[in-house]
Symmetry: C2
Subunit: 413 residues, 2 copies
């Protein structure tokens, strides 16, 4: 079954690569309209998923991610229309140069081919991923979580029906209609057909895909993000940044999980920031130095420094200088997003140079690491690895390049 | 042992990322001088390797790749000096933009970190890879073939001695001093320390690395390259291109292995091109149509169409149109380099658009797919995969990017 899906995707990808931007944008708008027109069908399927999940005792936070409503479906349609307005990267000529022997060499942007997406409970990932993949000229194979199977299949049917009669082949979007883990494993071995596999979800899902896949993987989204309040920070600005980074949406990968504070300001600043965090309902866990200053802070363990809480919890550590802060972040972090708060140019530049993360901030909230916030458009995930794409991945990151060489009979000497 | 090497490489990579171009170039020139000054030491170690290989009955072609002499060592030194003259990609700002909220976002080029190279018998890969990795600000772990172990260790010692006293840490270059396959397998699991693994060698080596590695791999160098002589080709130019592509260096990955000829010109052109190939000592293997025209051509099997001969053998197939040629290449090829020979603009554009390979040529030899020939400088391999880098990989392809975001207290709304 998977092999058939892969073959169809491969065949569709050949056609996709040749489409004009207009053809793809027309299809995207039709898909958006179809999502709205078929909201009832999608919501019925989603209701069945939600009820099955409830009876299995799935947690409230998970149910919240799984459940769709009219407003969420309108959001999916809106996002799809927005993708249609983005610039089309395909066919962009990155560079052209002439060699001494007269060969004219160009590097041209082309689609990757077939993208596989493996994800968890949120059914909107189905339409988001389909939109970004079509815009970038790729075929996509979508394998969502078993809890959302009926919702994903329904969304897939709606999108495929919308593609019939457009220039985009229907098989450019395929949803794997099986909750079987073995099917997912089979998918991960289809190196011959799938050009890249993108896992979207929690740390466990990503680890499983990285360890199982024979297809190149782009790791996304694990975020143990840090804020370092340096001794020369503007503390009036610091607290709102810490609160925003931690609390604005604690379940996201760009939320801050750890706060490092320079020891020269720890005694004066920790009471202020801890009070502010607690006011927002945040549980703070501190190292020994922090607990000397605020004794009722729970002790952080070694495991805390590695943890991505995705919750209203924050680890706090007092550091003796910027080198200790940088070493701590590079050791325990996930190379996602880190921010230094300081008025000192040299310290900020050192932090920016030496922190090994996808996004390094000076005097701003880590919550901005996001395709839309960066002005790149919709994203298919935030890469925390260094190969191919790093940071928010948008339409242009689902492409590769091809060298085109025009000659007039040149041979190599 | 491998874990120690990895830890040292990681520590060295942190320092490497901060070095100026001057510091790296000084070290590269010292390494080049040291190769020449220590030629005797390297040649002695190489002699031991060659003798051991001879007594094991290793084939002449392999011995030729393994054996070093004064001239080859001078070539290694010269290549190292050339790498020092290339532009330094590190610190390049790819783009800077200001968001509506005032955040200034820049995308900056930074090193990958630690590069692992797994290769076969040619000891010059040791110094080539070390040079490119240092230039691009990375630390490198080199694991060559067991036949070349003593040569590689000697070259590694010479390079490391040269680094002592420079700004480049000695551990930026490490050679794995073990022929044990298990050690290589251990290396391939060091995802925590190694950012990318590049296999350089034959198809078997590459397959093993792709299937074993837990580290992201960039596949290199398998080349089943094609030339398609279209009905409107300038046949006077065609034959020299075919001969050059096949014969100039048949053991390289960009040598052509297959010749496709349009059926309208097959009867007139096949006798000419086959005679020319045979004059160069090439064994031709043809499909049924080709054998109808030249009956003494050996029959090609299905396996021939997939084969990378790396030898004076060429498969010849007669096709009825350009669609058949494109379909054949995309099915049987390795997505490396393909060339169409034609005077017809529309046919050439169709071929360029629809062929899914790293390099697509119009009226030129496939032998140009090479970092130096493309004007990119020395290469660490030719990527035949689509992720991260495609085609010749030079210094700039051993880098990643980092987003740097300058704020003034921005929080997300």
């Amino acid at each position: 079954m998977i092999i058939e899906i892969c073959k169809k995707a491969k065949a569709a990808s050949v056609k996709m690569a040749q489409l004009t931007a207009d053809a793809k944008n027309t299809a995207l708008c039709r898909m958006a309209n179809a999502l709205e027109a078929n909201a009832e069908k999608i919501l019925m399927a989603n209701k069945a998923d939600v009820e099955a999940a409830k009876s299995k005792g799935v947690k409230a936070a998970m149910l919240d991610r799984l459940a769709l409503d009219q407003k969420k479906i309108q959001g999916m349609a809106k996002d799809m229309r927005e993708v249609s307005t983005l610039a089309d990267p395909i066919g962009t000529i990155i560079g052209t140069w002439t060699r001494p022997n007269g060969l004219i060499i160009s590097q041209v942007r082309v689609p990757l081919g077939v993208v596989g997406v493996i994800y968890e409970s949120r059914p909107n990932v189905t339409s988001d991923s389909a939109g970004i993949c079509i815009k970038s000229g790729n075929a996509v194979i979508l394998r969502g979580g078993s809890d959302a199977l009926q919702s994903n299949v329904a969304i897939g049917e709606v999108l495929r029906d919308a593609l019939a009669g457009t220039a985009v082949p229907v098989d450019a979007v395929q949803v794997v209609n099986s909750p079987d883990r073995k099917v997912a494993e089979e998918l991960m071995r289809m190196r011959q057909y799938i050009d890249v596999l993108i896992p979207r979800g929690g740390a466990d899902l990503i680890k499983t895909v990285v360890e199982t896949s024979r297809i190149p993987v782009i790791e996304t989204g694990t975020g143990n993000c840090h804020i370092y309040v340096e001794e020369n920070a503007d503390l009036d600005k610091a607290t709102p940044i810490v609160i925003n980074s931690k609390c604005q949406r604690p379940g996201t990968c760009n939320a801050a999980e750890k706060l490092l504070v320079h020891n020269k300001i720890a005694e004066s600043y920790l009471p202020i920031v801890i009070a502010a965090l607690r006011k927002e309902g945040v549980e703070v866990r501190g190292d020994e130095e922090a607990r000397k200053i605020i004794p009722d802070v729970k002790a952080a363990t070694e495991q805390d420094w590695y943890a991505e809480y995705l919750d209203l919890i924050m680890g706090i550590k007092v550091v003796k200088n910027i080198d200790e802060a940088i070493a701590h972040i590079n050791k325990y972090g996930t190379k996602h997003s880190e921010s230094i708060l300081t008025a000192d140019f040299d310290k900020a530049m050192k932090f920016i140079r030496e922190i090994d993360s996808a996004a390094v901030y000076w005097n701003a909230s880590t919550r901005f690491t996001d395709g839309n916030q960066f002005g790149l458009g919709a994203e298919i995930g935030i890469s925390t690895q260094k190969l191919h794409a790093r940071g928010p991945m948008s339409v242009q990151h689902l492409t590769t390049t091809k060298y085109v060489i025009l000659g007039s009979g040149q041979i190599r000497k």
